[in-house]
Amino acid sequence: LTGRTEGRAAAWANGWLARLASYERRYLAVDGGGGARLLARLPALGTRLRPVSSPRHAEVLLACEPISRRLSPSLLELYRAMPRPRRAVVVGEPGPEHFPRADLVRLEDFLPNVERISADRSSPAEVAQRLLTLPLQFDESPSKPQLEPMTIPLPGKQEREIATELVVLSLGPVQPCTAGPLRVLLSCDGEQIVSAHIEAGYATRDVAGAMTQATGMEIAGLASALDPLAPVAGRLAYVTALEQLQHWEPEPTLGRQREAALALERVQNHLAWLVRFAEILADDRLTDDARRLEASLAEVSREFWEQSPVEWLAPQTPTVPTRYGGRPPRLERLAAEVAALRDRLARNRVLALRTAGIGVLPVDRLHAVGASGPALRASEHGREDVLGRLLTRLDEAADDIRNVEAGLKPAPMNRLRPAEQGIAQWSAPPGKTEVAISGPRGHIGLSLVSDGASLHQVAWRRPSAALLGLLPELLAGQKLADAEAIIASLDLAMAEADG
């Protein structure tokens, strides 16, 4: 009887503790390539959600697809390191079936009791709600992952200033300083980084290869997926390329609408990046400001079009349905707020102490690797360091918000209705063409060769890939504590970089 009573008391206490514990969730986020914007917004939505940086402190492993087979051992290792009770959640993106030439896996294939949130129900609010209501489990640990043996070249003794023993620290492949997985192996002499070794390819999907095997609108979907954080840029590149092959030119009003959609996407990316960057600097006030601006933009931009630009961007569609009806100038106010934040940061001497003079990228090196985008423009204006890239992005975000305003303003567009849309022409006539679109991280280039029936050859020029190669020289000689801020300042999207 005593044993039964004790058992009941223990069960009651455990149940009570479990109920209380479920009030807050600590999660470790893993961005397989498409989750940066969701992960930037999540902590602001759920005040009871806390992101952590160590798997030992996490209750939930939150993974955003796509997940490559190469990344899976790291995820397995992370899950094994988490204390029980625990749970794994995956937010779905286009899965393995969409990328037949990619080696993608599902989390369910190697982790127990995975909760899946499908792509159509993956709004930040819904994900936050699911994380908070998810029951944790005392499950069995999955078997140890088979890790590939790895060797990295270390600098010779004569290349070091002081001959001491080097320590190799692995940053990633799951880390918050890039949008998507990247492994950076840092050889450190104390707090000084002596050399860095980059391991990319954890988010490879072979988008270009898949495009040659797909048809019609499927290809447009794949083009959108090149950079999951910038689907408009990828899709617009493909649509523009098709229109060039079809010898069709959009009207100026449509061109302005497309530019507005593109500018909006650039701003969204810059602000989501700012949230991530502020979190890395552990600057709470900047994080709060960035989150507030990002949420304001998300709220305002819902009013612009009846469908999202990714849905209405199609070749030879003459008009675009819009809902923007000359409301009070919320975008102008937003642009003014971004500009004010930029000015405040430029005057912030403590921020400068932390970000000025580190991660210097000379403009000739950027030209040599074919870099483009904010990183190049910052260096061209003499702002070659991390602080310069931060201020340049904010400058460009403010300008782009005004571009969105300008693109949406033309009066005739306000009267357009969905019924006036033309029929999209998805066929690719024989020929060869090249286009370049100004995406959030630089120029996204697309080169197409069509034989009339299918795409014969597809090649992308990816802005993050160009910057990736600069990382080893950028990190060598820097302080370990600056490594994350330097890498983050480049705003690398690994899904786009890996292709």
Binding site: L17, L20, H57, R84, V167, G190, D283, L353
Partner: protein, 310 residues
Amino acid sequence: MSALGTALFVGLGLLLGAYSIAVLERLTVLGLRQFSVAVIAPLAQAAALLRQENLVPRGADRLLFRSAPLAAVAAVALAALVVPLGPGLRGFDPSIGLFYFIVVLGPFVIAMMNAGWSQNAKEGLFGTFRAAAYLLSYEVPLGFAAIGPVMAAESLSTVRIVEAQASLWYGAWQPLGLVIYVVAALFMAYRRPFDIPQAGGELEGGVLAEYTGPRLLLFNLALNALFLLLSAMGVVLFFGGWHGPLLPGPVWFLIKTLALAALLLWAGRFLPRLRHDQMLSLAWKVLLPASLVNVALVGILVMVLPGGGW
């Protein structure tokens, strides 16, 4: 009060104090509108950690790994004994109370270093080195900042220091010492913007990266209690301790302590995390010379003005 009573009183006080700091910490992030979340969330986190597995990493030094959180709690509990909450309301009042406080808190950093060292992980090792590098950097300015009130009160007794501020708080005429103490206290408590040994992203949590469950809870408790104690000692040294009108002394002491802690937590939110070399530069190139200037200034004032200061 008997030894057992004192132990229970200090233990309960630290527990409630650590919880108050956790609530304040969340309030500074969430704001007053989320008051209920700020109140419940620390309890929820404690419940979650109590339910969790108490893992020990493979290859860890088990003795050091297991004992580090206990050593941290012991250090803050022993230091708490000399903090006077009100007239006669203290663990004990040695004549060297302030010296005892600083010396007894010293092993806290040893506990942090043991925690990082024993993990058998490079991240923890780097965290250990960082914690060790800061040890002297904050101890020296903290000690010199505390000398000002000692010179004015002509005593190392924490009770005597509070009693000497019955007419005017030392913070009013030793503002430099107050600022140095506050910055050094943030250093010592591993709080923003000086929390790089335990929070550097590149180290995944640094010295606490491998701790889980009840041991992590103990460490969190010790860190919050440490911050509370440093705030309380700040009140003893610069804000007149329990002195205040109308309300009972202990109530004034608690109000002042939590207000100072809230102010420091709030101020820390406006600064990005500093790098280790910047922290060391701040300590040795700014705080130390400034603290020596403060000692000289206080010395002159105490010598020149009748009655020893004000």
